[in-house]
């Protein structure tokens, strides 16, 4: 194949998934754009945003890849009712790893900002926001990933290329939306 043929093929294959994730990213951006009050109320929160969003992608992307591989290998059946214990264990591991990474991110961000002498909210507030956002978005994302991979597999699609774009799109939107909800709940509980 010539360079041109390779480039045209890769462009056509890449554009739909990229466009879908752009839409998700813009929606997440709108929520973020409306969160200026929250960023002012919780100094240090903005520093956490990339870590929290990336955690969603890393953890649930890996969950999706694992489930897709499990289906290919015949370790899992594509159904939720009466599902294999392996599915529950994989989901439980994803949610607990997501929570661990979220709490870790909040703690590191707090320590670095204190070290730099920058203004930062208290450690319990940041950790509570990170954990609550991680739990809420994690539960929704786990359901999304499992449902989409199962549905895709049952209709005869290869789930592998579905996982990445779905997780980044859903991860951005739910990640930011539940971050907003978590900030509001924690601020409400703290005041």
């Amino acid at each position: 194949m010539s360079v041109r043929e390779v480039a045209v093929g890769a462009y056509r294959e890449g554009l739909p998934a990229l466009s879908a994730s752009v839409l998700g990213g813009l929606l997440a951006g709108v929520v973020l754009g409306g969160m200026r009050g929250e960023f002012r109320a919780v100094p240090g929160l903005l520093v956490l945003v990339p870590a929290l969003l990336a955690t969603r992608g890393n953890v649930y992307g890996s969950l999706g890849a694992r489930i897709a591989t499990g289906l290919h290998q015949g370790l899992l059946e594509p159904r939720i009712r009466g599902a294999d214990d392996r599915l529950y264990r994989a989901v439980a591991a994803a949610i607990s790893n997501g929570l661990l990474a979220s709490a870790f991110a909040a703690t590191v961000a707090f320590l670095v900002l204190v070290g730099l002498g920058e203004p930062v909210a208290s450690l319990p507030v940041l950790v509570a926001i990170a954990l609550l956002a991680g739990l809420l978005s994690g539960s929704v994302l786990a359901v999304c990933v499992v449902a989409v991979v199962f549905a895709g597999y049952r209709r005869g699609y290869n789930p592998d290329p579905l996982v990445g774009p779905i997780v980044t799109t859903a991860g951005d939107v739910f990640g930011v939306a539940f971050l907003l909800l978590a900030v509001r709940l924690v601020l409400l509980g703290g005041s």
């Binding site: 752009v22 945003v49 990339p50 992608g57 607990s96 790893n97």
Partner: protein, 185 residues
């Protein structure tokens, strides 16, 4: 070799890389914190943040996945004259130059209808396009280096390259956005 499907085994294989990637992302968060003032003043720039980060990561991960497949199929050679390499790199740049102007227009429109954009449409599109062009080149370089490193160290590029490339491109997304805002706004 597939890890066992227990919470402990999955966590053991995953937590170290997850925490390392979290540290990298906190780095990009600190950069974001440096221009918090500019972001909070201009909602259209804040709208650009997740989409720029996400698109940069996706450009890298799509390229990494394609190179990884070509590598497994044995159709990839690490030479500047390789058609697979050059064609995929070209497609990454073309994809970026297609979506980033649309991202700029979208971010401006969405900020305008929701909270009111402070910056002009032209400025926001220029920031998005400049970021996109720089990020496409960086995504190609990072992906090539990571894929080549995986090949040299005999690691499966599927396991290593995609998470590394996605997260490095996330960080570069913030840095490039920061630079474009500093130059153009």
């Amino acid at each position: 070799m597939q890890t066992e499907w227990s919470v402990r085994a999955i966590s053991r294989s995953m937590v170290p890389i997850l925490l390392a990637l979290t540290l990298v992302e906190i780095g990009s968060g600190l950069v974001l914190g440096r221009f918090e003032g500019a972001l909070l003043r201009s909602p259209s720039l804040l709208v650009l943040v997740p989409v720029t980060i996400g698109t940069a990561g996706n450009l890298g991960s799509v390229l990494a996945a394609r190179l990884s497949t070509a590598f497994h199929l044995g159709t990839l050679a690490f030479a500047p004259t390789d058609d697979q390499l050059a064609g995929n790199a070209l497609a990454t740049v073309a994809l970026s130059l297609t979506v980033f102007p649309a991202i700029g227009v979208g971010a401006w429109l969405l900020a305008e209808v929701t909270v009111g954009a402070r910056l002009g449409l032209g400025t926001v599109v220029a920031v998005a396009l400049a970021s996109g062009a720089a990020l496409a080149v960086l995504a190609v370089v990072v992906t090539l280096v990571a894929t080549y490193a995986a090949y040299r160290f005999e690691l499966d590029p599927d396991d290593v390259v995609i998470p590394v490339v996605t997260n490095v491109c996330d960080v570069l997304g913030v840095l490039v956005l920061f630079a474009s805002v500093a130059l153009l706004v």
